[in-house]
């Protein structure tokens, strides 16, 4: 399992030659390449459509558009840090949206109760994933693919396959209202990412999670409760996906079976782009945020330019491959240079 993640971002360290000046430049390119791509994208789109792109309204719009993806990808970062894949979060996004709207419309629950129940359901799914991976030792890809498929079934069963719509009200305000001119989803994103950042870098949980991801055997031998840490990562990932589902359903005013589908690839792309930011191949929250912004800015800028969808796919895929290639190269060179 870790092997797959490591192949993606961390090439195995082969003893190499002393890094020369050119190689040091490459290391820098790997660390700062991805943020530089973001800056270049901003400059490029500004040049291409100066009136539409670089306006306060559009920038706020970009942040607002990236909110749900940022929450999902931030959550996904935790299992990735612990060296595990989660493929179920996209279905959790759909499920929690359907549940929240369903509880509101069909069961007439108050909006906060509907949200809390939807989040609880998302957390339970995370717990199930964690149990499957940590205690039954199922390969995380298979385990979460399985739960994801079952969730799809539950989603269809609960919604009968048709979107559950709702009237604007306090619930939809979650996505549509602003506080001091800042959209609520942007505020939520800041709080969630800030919380995840603190949790990963300044708590025992976060340090142990990073240890499990870096070397699970060594973590076990150092007394880290690997199973517990793994479960925590999946539960938090589920919770974040649940929250994103609530925000998304409030934004589109309905709960839909396919609502979360687009997040699967985009969140992975963002996390893997982010792994190359500053830290040479480790997943981390700040990097994920940069990755999310790259994905959203590309999407937003190309739409403003009126690009066809095939261009969008080519562009996004190309950036993902280029940035991770840069990151894995930098990782190898760093290890080679650190080793005499």
């Amino acid at each position: 399992m870790e092997g797959i993640i490591q192949q993606a971002t961390k090439p195995s360290a082969e003893p190499g030659a002393e890094p020369g000046k050119a190689q040091r430049t490459l290391v820098l390119a790997g660390r700062y390449g991805t943020p530089a791509v973001l800056v270049l994208l901003l400059i490029g789109f500004t040049a291409a459509s100066p009136q539409a792109f670089m306006t306060g309204q559009n920038l706020l719009n970009i942040l607002n558009q990236s909110a749900t993806l940022a929450i999902v990808a931030g959550g996904l970062t935790l299992p990735l840090v612990a060296g595990k894949f989660d493929l179920s979060f996209a279905s959790v996004v759909s499920l929690s949206g359907i549940l929240a709207v369903g509880f509101l419309e069909r069961s007439s629950l108050p909006w906060f109760a509907a949200i809390l129940l939807a989040l609880a359901a998302a957390a339970i799914i995370g717990l199930v994933n964690g149990l499957l991976v940590a205690h039954l030792r199922i390969n995380p890809i298979v385990a979460t693919l399985g739960t994801s498929t079952m969730l799809l079934g539950i989603n269809y069963a609960y919604s009968n396959g048709t979107p559950i719509t709702l009237e604007p009200g306090p619930f939809t305000d979650i996505a549509r209202a602003s506080v001091l001119g800042i959209p609520v989803p942007v505020i939520l994103t800041a709080v969630v990412l800030g919380g995840l950042w603190v949790a990963l870098n300044f708590t025992l949980l976060g340090h142990h999670m990073q240890a499990v991801g870096a070397n699970q055997v060594a973590a076990r031998m150092a007394g880290v409760r690997v199973a517990r840490i793994t479960m925590a990562a999946f539960v938090i990932c589920g919770l974040c996906a649940g929250l994103a589902g609530v925000v998304l359903s409030a934004r589109i005013g309905s709960g839909q079976v396919t609502a979360g589908d687009g997040y699967l690839l985009n969140a992975f792309a963002a996390a893997f782009l982010g792994a190359s930011v500053l830290r040479d191949g480790d997943f981390h929250i700040l990097g994920t945020l940069v990755g999310v912004l790259i994905v959203t800015v590309t999407f937003n800028g190309l739409s403003l330019l009126g690009a066809q969808s095939y261009v969008q796919f080519l562009f996004q895929g190309g950036i993902l491959v280029a940035a991770t290639a840069l990151s894995s190269t930098s990782r190898r060179l760093l290890l080679a240079s650190a080793r005499r």
Binding site: L204, H208, A211, V217, M221, A222, V224
Partner: protein, 514 residues
């Protein structure tokens, strides 16, 4: 020993063909450690050539160079009289050299037959091959090594010694010019070992050059046509069949110099010291058999044993990583049955594992993260707020680096950039910080240069002085002279106990080979 060393390249008696593989002046260093210092040795067709020597004498390094797993720093390897560069295992296979290494390397999910077929390199990559069932070639190889268990189940379902037989069969599935076996009988019982020796004889009779590495000198004297003894990376002795005796080999392995128990003192009145750990007849599988031992407060106890003697397995039992099949453990007067590593740690047990890179270090992480993995909670803001004060932790890590002599510019630098000795001090620091009742160190100086070794033993002594009971496992017997007491382990049992001035390297070695 009079006619001890050989000249460069064994003199070829007139009329005898050139050796299949000849090694000339081979040298290999790992950092400051010189594993091979200009070794000359020849392997001939139809001859079983034994290689003996203490751990770290250079036997395995020589084999790794022949197998293309290591590049020698200097010297030549000649195959059929021609200088050959072996660039990797595929090269070695093409030259007809097969290797059975010390570690098992089977594909766990493959069946025995599939694993054996991995040894066959004949034919095109894309030619159709049967992937199920047991091909004829496999059956032949299996019969030769006496495999009597099914070969169509995954090897993960086989016992360790059955897996060994599969590994050996893999080397036999194709015709080979040379087969090198590194401790092939280590995990085999007497009957299986006898079968293997018979196979080795048959191979030699059919013209294959067999290289046989073993700690079991009886096997070596019984089967080998020639024995080369290594000491400290050099060839110390080479004997033809007629002159091979157990005594001669032991003398070379053990060495002549009488090393007094330098610095070693029996703790005075050990009996009156408080007993920290007491093991009674602890057993696990074939690796730990009825081990009883007692550890006292403030005592540094060595465990001398060869690879495979059950040392590490014993340590893992105490550390809660494995559970004993039978026997009792008592810690501080109370029954001690750790069900997990965290439980053992809470009760004050610490373990520095043998495999530093794979079992102890988070290579890409900083020195600080590696040091504090066991004690992060110490920098928690308060009981109610589970945040870690990053600055205090950083400062503390820098202080630890200074006190332990860990050479790094800053504790936030990645641990991968440190030398082996400094990395080992980081792992030790992680456990010293927990102030353990029992500190177990498994091969604490493996891959560590001489300077850092002294440092590490200084830390070990300090840990003892501060009241920890320290258990040092080592195959570098010279280092165990530092201990107050040494237990000698062989084949899962404790076969001897030495105290104070009794502790000498020859004595430990004799007991290991007894």
């Amino acid at each position: 020993m009079t006619a001890a060393t050989t000249g460069p390249g064994d003199p070829v008696p007139p009329g005898q063909a050139a050796p299949l593989v000849q090694v000339r002046g081979l040298a290999k260093s790992y950092g400051a450690i010189r594993a091979l210092r200009g070794v000359d040795v020849s392997f001939r067709r139809g001859e079983i050539h034994g290689l003996v020597g203490a751990n770290g004498a250079g036997k395995s390094t020589l084999i790794n160079c022949l197998a293309g797993l290591e590049r020698p720093d200097a010297g030549d390897i000649l195959v059929d009289g021609e200088i050959t560069h072996v660039h990797g295992p595929a090269d070695a296979a093409r030259l007809g050299l097969a290797f059975i290494h010390q570690e098992l390397n089977l594909v766990n999910s493959f069946t025995g037959a599939q694993n054996i077929m991995l040894g066959s390199h004949r034919g095109s990559m894309v030619a159709l091959r049967r992937f199920s069932g047991v091909p004829r070639a496999v059956l032949d190889a299996a019969r030769r090594v006496g495999i009597d268990f099914p070969l169509d189940v995954p090897v993960s379902e086989l016992t360790v010694h059955q897996q060994w037989l599969v590994t050996i069969a893999r080397a036999l599935v194709e015709d080979r010019a040379l087969i090198a076996m590194d401790e092939p009988t280590g995990s085999l019982d007497a009957q299986e070992a006898a079968t293997l020796l018979k196979v080795a004889r048959e191979l030699a009779a059919s013209g294959v050059a067999v290289v046989f590495i073993s700690h079991r000198l009886d096997e070596v004297t019984a089967v080998c046509d020639r024995v080369t003894a290594f000491k400290d990376g050099s060839v110390a002795l080479s004997l033809p069949r007629a002159e091979i005796t157990r005594e001669a080999l032991v003398r070379v392995i053990v060495g002549q110099e009488v090393t007094p128990g330098a610095g070693a003192t029996a703790l005075e009145a050990t009996e009156h010291r408080r007993v920290v750990l007491d093991l009674r007849e602890v057993r696990r599988g074939r690796s730990v058999r009825e081990v009883s031992l007692t550890l006292h407060e403030g005592e540094v106890v060595g465990i001398a044993g060869l690879v495979g003697s059950g040392r590490t397995e014993l340590a893992r039992l105490i550390f809660g990583a494995d559970r004993p099949d039978s026997g009792t453990m008592v810690l501080d007067g109370k029954p001690y049955r750790p069900r997990s590593i965290p439980q053992a740690i809470t009760q004050g047990v610490a373990y520095v594992p043998e495999e530093r890179r794979s079992e102890a270090l988070f290579l890409t992480h900083s020195v600080e993260e590696n040091l504090h993995i066991t004690v992060w909670d110490r920098w928690r803001v308060s009981r109610w707020l589970p945040l870690i004060r990053s600055r205090s932790s950083h400062a503390a890590a820098n202080r630890t680096c200074r006190t332990l002599g860990i050479k790094t510019a800053d504790a936030r630098r990645p641990v991968v950039g440190l030398s082996g000795g400094n990395q080992q001090k980081v792992v030790m620091g992680r456990w010293l910080a927990t102030n353990p009742k029992i500190l177990i160190l498994d091969e604490p100086t493996r891959g560590v240069d001489v300077g850092a070794r002294a440092d590490i033993y200084e830390r070990i002594r300090e840990a003892g002085e501060s009241g920890s009971a320290v258990l040092v496992i080592s195959s570098e017997f010279e280092e165990l002279l530092e201990c107050n007491r040494v237990l000698v382990m062989a084949e899962g049992r404790i076969v001897g106990e030495l105290t104070g001035d009794e502790i000498t390297v020859p004595d430990m070695l004799h007991r290991c080979y007894a």
